[in-house]
């Protein structure tokens, strides 16, 4: 036990006790005591100074999603705290464990409209799994312990701890006890065996079973258990956007990526399977299309760790509250070994159609202009699908999820639920800091890059080796695509005049290259990947390219269009 230390030091000691070695933040008046304490912990905790608090939380998210640890960030009160909100919302909807510590005005000033006072507890409530305001130094350790426990357990999510300045300055004895139980919170469900047996019975009698997986597999660390189950059961596997990387894309049982811009076969055959087994996914509307015409013919089995997800969107015939890993171990034990060759053939036949009408041309286009897909395809080959890929939001994101052949665990970081432009660059910084030995590529559109472009400064200062790939179509491409398809080509404010990206990078001492021709692509990607330290490669691509296949809003998954 430490006797009589400052609350601010208690914050730092709590982080050390939670084995936090990296955090992201930005100082300001109300968090100064904590930054002062941090000064003495510089050799134990690597604090990365970002350029905007949104960058801090996205970096913490990138760190968390690729390392499996809880991401941590610091921000000051008022504008510092409100700048975290987008990231909190993103982490909330994508189940990312993050602990944010914000400074707050002294407790006697609460509610007085004091300088930089904002009700961050109130503002962040809808976008945090839990939050707490601490006004006394002696409450800090307990609050921090609960914060880490809640963020990382069950269905993970963001937590915010708001600490008043007087609590940071106050003196307390400090003893850290990790939180292991909260009476009102049950993060680890016990599987009901009769539910599980009902699921196994359905699966054993199925002729056309179909397994759809989501990020739950990754969050529970069930990648190996998933392969074991798939191989024993012979059930074809498809993935949601956030599930990419949970199952090797080159596995013979992998049949593709689901949803609006996903693959042809798994979308169509969702409406042909007889048993749909969903594990660790939440039937997002981008996955289901029109829910009233989603897998109506199938018996649905849904495994999720969040009880509120069961029967939320799709009524399950068997709903099982469970951790994905535990569920898969049980399922593998009880399932009858089978092969579903004919059923798999149906996927392969549709895959062939998609290849012939979309994929082959996309990967090896005959057009003059470079296409996004060929860039991503070549990057995938050059990195053997093993880089950590952090995408932003838009056409380049959908193209990347379609054409990057993810093979590594925790290799896919993207803003799925919230679709936050500006996510990629800071998230990639966090991913690299969590995985120094891996190649981290941030794939970003020309629009989204400018939403958090200031984080180039973070890369400069912290010397973060992030490979930045800008796919520049001079458009807010995804919105333009919708304008073309659904708004009569009325390109209302989607054409974007861009700055000289390579010059900007160079301004931050980041080496950069711009290419416009197919003949330069191979070399360009080699230069990007082989650079020492950060590098920016700008690839100028076709301006009015559309992402296909596509399930239009309101359409059923089986109505996915190829062009």
């Amino acid at each position: 036990m430490e006797k009589n230390i400052r609350g601010a030091e208690a914050v730092m000691r709590s982080l050390v006790a939670e084995k936090v070695d990296t955090l992201f933040g930005y100082p300001g008046g109300a968090i100064m005591p904590i930054y002062d304490a941090l000064y003495d912990f510089k050799d134990q905790v690597n604090h990365i100074l970002v350029r905007h608090e949104q960058g801090a939380i996205h970096a913490a998210q990138g760190y968390a999603r690729t390392s499996g640890k809880v991401g941590v960030c610091f921000a000051t009160s008022g504008p510092g705290a409100t700048n975290l909100i987008t990231g909190l919302a993103d982490a909330m909807i994508d189940s990312t464990p993050v602990v944010c510590v914000t400074g707050q005005v002294a407790s006697h000033l609460l509610g007085t409209d004091a300088f930089q006072e904002t009700d961050v507890i109130g503002i962040s409530m809808p976008v945090t799994k839990w939050n707490i305001q601490v006004t006394k130094a002696e409450d800090i350790a307990g609050a921090m312990a609960k914060a880490f426990y809640i963020a990382g357990s069950g269905r993970p999510g963001p937590v915010l701890v708001d600490i008043t300045k007087d609590a940071q300055f106050g003196m307390t004895d400090f003893e850290y006890k990790p939180c292991e139980k909260i009476r009102s919170y049950s993060p680890k469900p016990t599987i009901q065996m009769n539910d599980l047996n009902a699921a196994v019975d359905l699966l054993n009698s199925a002729q056309k079973p179909f397994l759809v997986i989501g990020q739950g597999i990754i969050l529970s660390g069930a990648e190996k258990e998933l392969v074991a189950f798939a191989e024993k059961s012979g059930i074809p596997v498809a993935s949601t956007l956030l599930g990419l990387g949970a199952f090797p894309t080159d596995h013979p049982l992998y049949v593709g990526y689901l949803g609006m811009h996903g693959n042809y076969a798994p979308n169509i055959l969702t409406n042909e399977c007889d048993v749909l087994l969903a594990i660790g996914m939440r039937f997002d509307d981008r996955v289901t299309g029109d829910v009233s015409r989603y897998a109506k013919q199938a018996k649905v089995i849904h495994f999720d760790i969040d009880a509120a997800e069961l029967n939320k969107i799709i009524k399950a015939d068997v709903a099982v509250l469970a951790d994905a890993k535990e569920a898969l171990v049980h399922l593998t034990e009880s399932i009858t070994p089978k092969k579903h060759e004919n059923w798999l053939e149906e996927f392969r036949a549709l895959e062939k159609i998609e290849n012939e009408s979309v994929v082959n041309e996309a990967k090896h286009p005959t057009s003059d202009k470079l296409k996004m897909a060929e860039v991503v395809n070549l990057l995938s080959e050059k990195t053997d699908g093993k880089a950590i890929i952090v995408t932003d939001v838009g056409q380049h994101q959908m193209i990347t999820s379609r054409y990057y052949q993810y093979k590594g665990y925790r290799s896919n970081v993207t803003s799925g639920g919230l679709g936050t432009m500006g996510f990629s660059l800071p998230a990639a910084i966090g991913a690299k800091l969590g995985n120094p030995e891996k190649t981290v590529v941030a794939i970003i559109g020309d629009g989204g890059f400018q939403m958090t472009i200031q984080e180039l400064g973070t890369i400069l200062q912290a010397k973060v080796d992030v490979k930045i790939l800008i796919l520049n179509n001079n458009f807010l491409g995804m919105v333009r695509q919708w304008q073309q398809l659904f708004f009569d080509r009325r390109y209302s404010f989607t054409e974007i005049v861009n700055p000289n990206f390579t010059a900007i990078a160079k301004g931050y001492s980041i080496d950069a290259l711009k290419i416009t021709e197919r003949s330069e692509l191979d070399n360009g990607l080699d230069t990007l990947l082989n650079s020492t330290g950060a590098f920016l490669l700008e690839v100028v691509v076709e301006q009015e390219e559309n992402v296909f296949p596509m399930i239009e809003t309101g359409a059923s998954v089986s109505e996915i269009r190829l062009n």
Binding site: R183, S184, Y185, K312
Partner: protein, 172 residues
């Protein structure tokens, strides 16, 4: 089909939990008809009674979201016929009008109580179900009601399973 549901929520005693619960309704564009909160029979455990008009499907989802909140111990929902529920109303009347207007008869008929008689005003109280409170209001209106206030509903479900029992389950 929309109907009234009585949602009972048991929570820890922590700042902000009421807000966490109400934003679940706001987010779904659901109007809360009434809400009451107080400590339950177990020390430190708070009990909320929330009444909403909505569909069965929606109330199930709302209750699941409420129960998901870290500091919520348990949440249930019941239809009106599965609970015993009451509200309380206070009626302020002018003492003069009250004395001259046949008030005694009305108070007796409604089994209402007189809480206080001051020189200027008299306060009548009635506990009951919303319709009963409204009928009394209408009857007293002939005399003239100066002020009227009605509490939210409190409800206890008919099925028997004690809070203690749930707490034990949660502890294990």
């Amino acid at each position: 089909m929309e109907r009234a549901y009585n949602i009972s929520v048991f929570t820890e005693n922590s700042i902000g939990i009421l807000n966490r619960i109400t934003i679940i309704f706001t987010r779904r564009h659901l109007n809360i008809e009434s809400i009451t909160a107080s400590e339950s029979e177990v020390k430190g455990v708070y009990r909320y009674t929330i009444v909403v008009n909505t569909s069965l499907d929606q109330v199930k989802k709302v209750v699941a979201q409420i129960e998901k909140q870290v500091e919520v111990l348990k949440a249930f929902f019941h239809t009106d016929d599965e609970v015993v529920h009451q509200e309380i109303a206070l009626y302020k009347l002018s003492t003069e009008a009250f004395a001259n207007g046949g008030a005694e008869k009305i108070v007796r008929e409604h089994h209402a109580r007189i809480l206080t008689i001051e020189k200027d005003f008299t306060i009548v109280e009635k506990t009951g179900q919303p319709e009963e409170l409204t009928v009394l209001f209408n009857d007293l209106s002939s005399i003239g009601v100066l002020e009227f206030v009605r509490s939210g509903r409190v409800a206890i479900s008919k099925p028997m399973k004690t809070l203690e029992h749930y707490l034990e389950e949660l502890e294990n």
